[in-house]
């Protein structure tokens, strides 16, 4: 009887051990990607943006993945508005249809919990055997702003935004990686190099300003040069501004806010309304004055990034600020474009908005989804996409970019890299779309002269606070 009991106890112990072992394996397998290679699917489906993240460049890179792995990458593209709705609808339905999804930074705070955390994948050598990950190659500011979140509190930004990218360190700090940056857009200054180097213009400027005509580095210089080039009778204006009602005017404002030493994110990690500040007043006053003085062409207060590109490309302005390289119309004889960082006052933080490739948490092919995203954002593929105008997020790719035969593109990439290194992204809010609408309405009201900067900012702060509270945030007093 006793013996039987002992045997029985032994069986129970063995069973317990087996169950614990199975549970432990299951737990580990559930938390981190398995080392055993997941069976290769026939295809990986990607949902991507049509225009905003250069789908043509990425599309051209898809066949190389099939050549290397035998897995076909199938990409669906959509314009911005439809894409946002589609992405949110896919995640709301917990759909596994798309394995990899492109995500814009304003969406991430709401989406993060639906994206697969990638730090485990990044540190798993077997998942990075197609091409080296080399995470340290990513431009730190871009990487942290785009892809690193604390999913429990998605409003937080990574505390060390200039540290070399290291997945293990990110995980240790309580954050994780929710995608790999694929397209990094930042605001940069473009100017008519031919006009700036024209001896007659140089002499005239010297006579008028008492100094040499140079590409403006400060906001004061920018206003001075804009005034100099403004000659409406010759259909020439100093600069463009994107003061229309839309995301673009918020981005203009936050760039100036950062340039005057304010918080370029506008709203802090703990929902401090930092845009309503002395720097905010200075930024808006400067913006309004440029328009009011007539240094910008007619249509500025309804312009978006498309209109200002047309204005500059057609020779209507001597300078512009935009998020991509520009090409002057063929009718402008001898026209050459130069690029530079956006002018600053006592600080800098040009707006950047980047896109990442994220793995769908509900995908049945997460490992292969990661492999596809890692392949498409690798240094080799990003370099191959340069000629098609991709905006890479890796330092090494910019070294190649500056050697491109297309001098205009090479010059642009040089400036873009500088801008990305110091850029400021967006506040991390689940209802950023509504907050953004309040801010761009306020900026536009100031630009048109309907409101004065200080009361406009105060009124916008009240509105934004209401929106944040309605979205469940607590706004500090």
């Amino acid at each position: 009887m006793i013996q039987i009991k002992k045997e029985g106890n032994g069986l129970v112990s063995k069973l317990r051990l087996s169950v614990i072992a199975v549970l432990a394996i299951g737990l580990v397998a559930g938390v981190t990607p398995s080392n055993a290679a997941q069976k290769a699917p026939k295809q990986i489906r990607i949902l991507y943006a049509t225009a905003e993240a250069n789908s043509a460049a990425v599309q051209a890179a898809l066949p190389s993945f099939k050549t290397k792995t035998g897995v076909q990458l199938v990409m669906d593209t959509m314009p911005y508005g439809a894409l946002q709705t589609k992405v949110f609808a896919e995640f709301a339905a917990k759909s596994s249809y798309y394995d990899v999804v492109i995500v814009d930074t304003p969406w991430s705070p709401a989406l993060a919990q639906n994206l697969e955390p990638l730090s485990g994948y990044m540190t798993n050598a077997s998942l990075n055997n197609l091409v080296p990950l080399n995470s340290a190659d990513f431009i730190p500011k871009v990487f942290y702003d785009t892809a690193v979140y604390n999913v429990k509190k998605p409003s937080l930004h990574y505390p060390k935004p200039t540290a070399t990218v290291d997945a293990a360190a990110i995980k240790k700090a309580g954050f994780d990686v929710y995608g790999l940056p694929v397209q990094a857009n930042a605001l940069a200054l473009a100017y008519r190099k031919d006009l700036f180097e024209d001896p007659a213009q140089k002499a005239a400027f010297k006579k008028e300003a008492g100094r040499a005509l140079t590409v403006p580095k400060t906001l004061d210089e920018f206003a001075e040069v804009a005034e100099f080039f403004t000659q409406p009778d010759k259909k020439l204006y100093g600069t463009t501004l994107m003061a229309g009602t839309g995301d673009w005017s918020t981005d203009d404002f936050k760039t100036l806010l950062a340039a005057y030493g304010g918080d370029g994110y506008m709203v802090g990690n703990n929902q401090e309304l930092n845009f309503n500040s002395a720097a905010g007043v200075r930024a808006l006053t400067y913006y309004r004055n440029l328009i009011k003085s007539g240094f910008t062409p007619p249509g500025t207060t309804s312009a978006s990034w498309d209109e200002v590109a047309t204005m500059f490309n057609s020779g209507l302005t001597a300078m512009t600020m935009n998020y991509h390289d520009l090409k002057l119309d063929a009718s402008i004889a001898g026209g050459v474009i130069g690029y530079a960082k956006v002018p600053s006052a006592n600080s800098e933080g040009p707006h950047f908005g980047t896109w990442m490739l994220s793995v769908n948490k509900y995908s049945k092919n997460k490992e292969w989804g990661y492999r596809a995203a890692q392949w498409l954002t690798s240094a080799a593929q990003s370099t191959a996409m340069l000629s098609k105008g991709i905006h890479p997020a890796r330092n090494s790719v910019y070294a190649s970019a500056e050697k491109l035969p297309d001098a205009n593109l090479a010059a642009y990439y040089k400036t873009l890299k500088q801008a990305l290194a110091v850029g400021a992204g967006r506040p991390r809010l689940t209802n950023y779309g509504e907050v953004n609408a309040v801010i761009f309405t306020m900026v536009n009201n100031v630009a048109t002269g309907k409101l004065e900067p200080k009361p406009a900012l105060a009124a916008a702060a009240v509105e934004v606070e209401k929106l944040l509270v309605s979205a469940g945030y607590t706004v500090p007093k």
């Binding site: 949110f88 709401a110 229309g244 007619p298 309804s302 779309g433 048109t448």
Partner: protein
């Protein structure tokens, strides 16, 4: 002499209207009732499906409007009328409601008057009118988003055709159409009127073509002039068609979205920001489904109240014409 003529005209109009009404009355009323029942029976399957497709979503929308549901948030709480209270006390949303009401009133009024005007000239069956009728389809066959984009280009203060031709005519040619509240409204209303007046005109042309010739001829023989014939006979007989155009255009105008988003983006400031744009931002940018549903329900209630009210006003107006 003039009063005698007026009396003669009124008597003639009354006779003509009675004649028109008699022509439309059925000869056997009971037969009509039976026929009506058969019609209802035949329509019932489609009607049931239609009700399921319209009433069910409306009930779902109402239930969502009483929650704080968010698309990606799994927790959804019943909040009662809290969303409605927030909307009805939000100054910016009330402003949007005013923008919507002003837009609907303006465009529907202009389109009804202009549509009626064009119909007067185009309803007669001539070869030129056939061509004109075909051309009328073009504006509302164009996708609203496309026409808004084209208008935005045409109104560009630096390269647009509108300023260019205004300059040729010696008019101001530096107008920043979309940068000023008044001109932005002109642009929005202009786009809508361009796009939808032909729709109204086509409905009214169909109506005018179906008018019985006898009452009009009788009135003419009795000495009524063109305006009197139009005012006392054509307009009244056209009332059902005017009602259809009015209701359809009112509902469509309430739903206008693309032109606001693309042409003005609600600007300058928020001067052209209608409810639909606000609903879009809340529903499809922040995905706050509960709150957006409440906004949509308020708009639905406004349309539901307004539509029968308009028909009643129209009916009363035409009844008053009867002597």
């Amino acid at each position: 002499m003039r009063s005698e003529l007026t009396e003669l005209n009124q008597a003639s109009t009354t006779r003509t209207l009675k004649l028109a009404r008699r022509q439309s009355e059925p000869a056997f009323p009971n037969k009509g009732k039976i026929r009506n029942r058969i019609y209802w029976l035949q329509m019932s399957p489609a009607l049931i499906i239609l009700l399921l497709m319209t009433i069910a979503p409306a009930i779902f929308l109402i239930s969502k409007s009483l929650t704080n549901d968010s698309l990606l948030n799994s927790t959804s709480n019943f909040v009662g009328l809290q969303n409605y209270q927030a909307i009805l006390t939000d100054a910016s949303l009330l402003h949007s409601a005013r923008v919507t009401a002003a837009f609907v009133a303006l465009v529907v009024l202009i389109e009804m008057v202009a549509g009626l005007f064009f119909a007067q000239f185009l309803y007669k069956k001539t070869r030129a009118n056939s061509v004109a009728g075909a051309l009328l389809i073009i504006p509302f066959a164009v996708a609203p988003a496309v026409s808004a984009m084209v208008f935005r280009e045409l109104l560009n203060p630096n390269y647009g055709w509108v300023n260019y031709f205004m300059g040729l005519l010696g008019l101001p040619d530096q107008i920043d159409w979309l940068g000023n509240s008044f001109t932005a409204w002109v642009a929005l209303v202009g786009l809508d009127v361009w796009q939808w007046t032909p729709f109204v005109a086509l409905i009214l042309i169909a109506g005018m073509s179906a008018l019985p010739a006898e009452p009009l001829e009788a009135a003419s023989v009795d000495g009524a002039n063109a305006w009197q014939i139009f005012r006392h006979i054509s307009f009244r007989l056209l009332a059902p068609f005017i009602g259809i155009a009015l209701v359809l255009r009112t509902i469509q105008a309430f739903k206008t979205f693309d032109s606001f988003l693309i042409l003005t983006g609600g600007g300058p400031g928020d001067s052209t920001s209608p409810m639909n744009l606000e609903i879009y931002r809340v529903a499809l940018q922040s995905f706050r489904v509960g709150y957006a549903s409440s906004m949509a329900i308020i708009l639905l209630i406004a349309i539901s109240i307004l539509t029968p009210l308009l028909l009643k006003i129209l009916s009363r107006a035409t009844q008053n014409e009867e002597v």
